[in-house]
Subunit: 477 residues, 2 copies
């Protein structure tokens, strides 16, 4: 990995993006570039000047910032800018962009470009990228590696992307326990460079079994005459490669870790986890929660084609179609009542809508608390009691208000009472379902956020219509 | 801060919580403790035994894990466990729990306990806690500090909680540029201990102005004879105390930082930011996004009282009440049409519901992309075009299906066509509003996620009813 220092932090991402957009649009540079794929032989001097400035600007940006700009550009402009990025930076940038955007960039590169971009990568980075590369490129890359690297890529690829093994890197600095700190310091000097996020050295025996860790802090403040064994921490946090990566990320967050060793079943050191990967994971995890709740399958490239977006969203829309149809049939059951008292048609969406909103609040709370491991399925009863209490208070309060409004509008006090009763019952239903839906999904081993919003709305719609129209039919007609 | 090593990572949070719950419930220990607030003089030998085990268990847990257990316990059990925690650990644990839970713990402590808990805290930790402590406790704490510490607490308190100044700490290790690395190494050894997350030393001149940073990595691999000035990085990422903390967190994420200096306008070093605070911020930011979208004002203690929860949720429920009432009045406009064709009442929630779901998908995408700075208000038109495309495809596709179902149910092909047209138009409205609502909120300087779900549903409900009933009145009656 090349090291480019991050500069000018006082300039925000939006500023940088605006500058790039300005250069792309001032003299239609983006269109000119798109037409002659590659960026050569522009004739308009204004465009040539802009191009030079743009190139300069891109060269001085950190790979993560270039990645951000690429993500924020529509496809045609994205590819035009991508062509301007120096080939030796391609690899770093590919590792930084989101999966959806990476796909569009890789589709625009030929095999030679891909091989060049991947050449400088470490084993863990290659493993990140490999699933998205063409098969023959991966084959050629594997051929070019030495046996140890190849084994590492294979091992990283053998884990699911939510397992520790898929996120670990192999840049460990290992030392023995029977040497002095002075020796360690001299050894480090010979290395010339240390891997990023090296806040501890890993102490291993001759079989590679982890004996402890030597935090750099301790290396620095202790007498150099001391032995590693005297100073090292013998009971560090470690992970196994088949553990859940999100559990590891939570441990990093709780214990303020920077790096940890990964060991196999026999205690042998095989890799390490670092905070930067864990931060990305925490970010992704909360993103996928938001997306799941709204019924989106995965992160979308915001400038993806209409067709791709349709495919990402159709599954839950289809579910919603079925639930909406069911709600409609519930109303159909009562069409006689509606014919007699058309006010029911106007009032029923209030009962359903407020139930849906309230249910969404409950389910959001529960899903969050479950993601943070604050509640498990064991708390169901207690949470039900509390949420039912909230539903009851809100139902009597807001149901009372809307019941009064209904009386005032239609001059029918019985209608008002039915409205209040229906609101209260539907809010109780919303509370019940807001707790039970995520708990049930979790018991079934599914993501508790999955389509939560669609499901709760389905319940409160059908339920709300049934309760309101049912009560009205019983008591008003 | 006391240092307790995090142990047994193979044991999950849920396991630990389950153990504590088991001990609390096996012989009704929790109730016995709650009755005699303080935990003394139990008589049942089984309870005494459980108590001893529980105490042992709590003592060996990391403060972050105790905090997690407290968050996951209902109020009465939470306070019983809180009484069992050793007084000298109170401070560390208070700093770890969520705001909502911290409030319940502080309410249970008297002034002497609070003073004891806060005694060992650093200036930045005190500033975190101060707003929630009783006024006279804060006063007494400030009295006990030396002038520099007091100044630091005051300064940290003078910033908003979303500014860098409120999150920085003061545990900087500073060195001069005109000394050799050997001298630096000897200086560090004299310090005996380095602050957590020290991945770089801060190089300052005699006026305290930051000249550069010396990464520990470079200190370790370079020849000790070299001068600091030769080896240091002279253009590091720095922040000002009045910058937006979330921007800083994004920079940490992008550039894989562990710590950065904070400097004032004159370039003087005044503090530092560390990755652990930034991780917490990233977590909180995505939480508040989820909560805002669902119309919740703030994070809720999952075991909060019914009354507290009602207060947290009422604002958006009230908004929802108004919007639901408006939707109801829209239907009221068409009660003549519904009386003539009661099928309209059964079909109209389908149009509204699918519009709401689709609008929620769009608004979720846009809010996320805005939070990641991927789109600004400048992209509005392009996004509108794309989302309108998605809406059109979905409208014709799913609207066609549901139109056919309407024809099949009611044997009225004109009704089917009106249904398809209304679905398509409402999905276009959903796309339009899904883009415009967050963009408009951002232009007004508000959080684009604020009540997004309530607002979009309001639009697609009223809009859907109006479009469907309006078209039906025009073409069917």
């Amino acid at each position: 990995m090349t090291e480019v220092e991050a500069k000018k932090p006082q300039e925000t991402l939006q500023d940088r993006l605006a500058q790039v957009l300005e250069l792309l649009h001032r003299h239609d540079l983006a269109e000119a570039l798109a037409q002659q794929h590659g960026g050569e032989s522009l004739t308009d001097p204004a465009q040539i000047d802009d191009l030079a400035q743009l190139q300069l600007r891109l060269d001085e940006l950190h790979p993560a910032d270039v990645a951000h700009i690429l993500e924020a550009l529509p496809l045609d402009e994205r590819l035009a800018v991508w062509q301007l990025v120096k080939t030796e930076r391609d690899g770093d940038i590919l590792l930084e962009v989101s999966d959806a955007v990476r796909e569009t960039l890789i589709a625009d590169m030929d095999d030679q470009e891909l091989l060049a971009a991947a050449k400088e990568m470490d084993a863990d980075e290659l493993a990140d990228l490999a699933p998205e590369l063409p098969r023959d490129v991966v084959h050629e890359l594997m051929e070019s590696l030495d046996a140890q690297q190849r084994e590492r890529v294979r091992s990283a690829l053998s884990y699911d992307e939510d397992q520790v093994g898929a996120l670990m890197d192999f840049e460990m600095v290992t030392i023995r326990e029977d040497v002095s700190l002075e020796v360690v310091l001299r050894y480090l000097r010979r290395l010339k460079e240390l891997p990023g996020h090296t806040d501890k050295l890993f102490v291993v025996d001759y079989d590679g079994v982890l004996k402890g860790v030597l935090p750099i802090k301790r290396l620095l403040v202790n007498d150099p005459e001391k032995q590693v064994a005297e100073v090292m921490a013998t009971d560090p946090v470690t992970f196994h490669p088949d553990e859940d990566a999100y559990e590891a990320a939570q441990a990093f967050e709780r214990y303020d870790l920077v790096s940890t060793p990964v060991v196999d079943k026999g205690g042998k050191l095989i890799g390490r986890l670092t905070i930067d990967e864990m931060v990305d994971l925490i970010r992704e995890e909360s993103e996928s929660e938001v997306l799941n709740m709204a019924g989106l399958r995965e992160e979308e490239d915001i400038f993806a084609s209409v067709w791709k977006s349709v495919r990402n969203r159709w599954a839950w829309l289809a579910v919603n179609l079925v639930t909406a149809f069911l709600a409609s049939r519930v109303i159909g059951l009562f069409d006689g009542s509606i014919e007699k008292l058309v006010a029911l048609a106007a009032l029923m969406p209030i009962v359903a809508g407020i139930g849906g909103n309230s249910g969404n609040q409950t389910i959001t709370m529960i899903v969050r608390a479950m993601a943070l491991d604050q509640v498990g399925t064991g708390n169901t009863l207690r949470l039900l009691r509390k949420e039912a209490g909230v539903g009851l208070v809100n139902g009597l309060l807001w149901g009372g208000v809307i019941g009064f409004v209904a009386y005032w509008l239609y001059g029918n006090w019985a209608l008002g009472v039915v409205m209040t009763a229906a609101m209260t019952l539907n809010l109780l239903l919303a509370a019940l379902m807001g707790v039970l839906i995520p708990m049930t999904l979790a018991r079934l081993g599914r993501d508790p956020a999955m389509g939560a919003s669609v499901m709760i709305t389905a319940m409160t719609d059908s339920g709300g219509f049934f309760i309101f129209l049912g009560l009205a039919t019983l008591f008003l007609l």
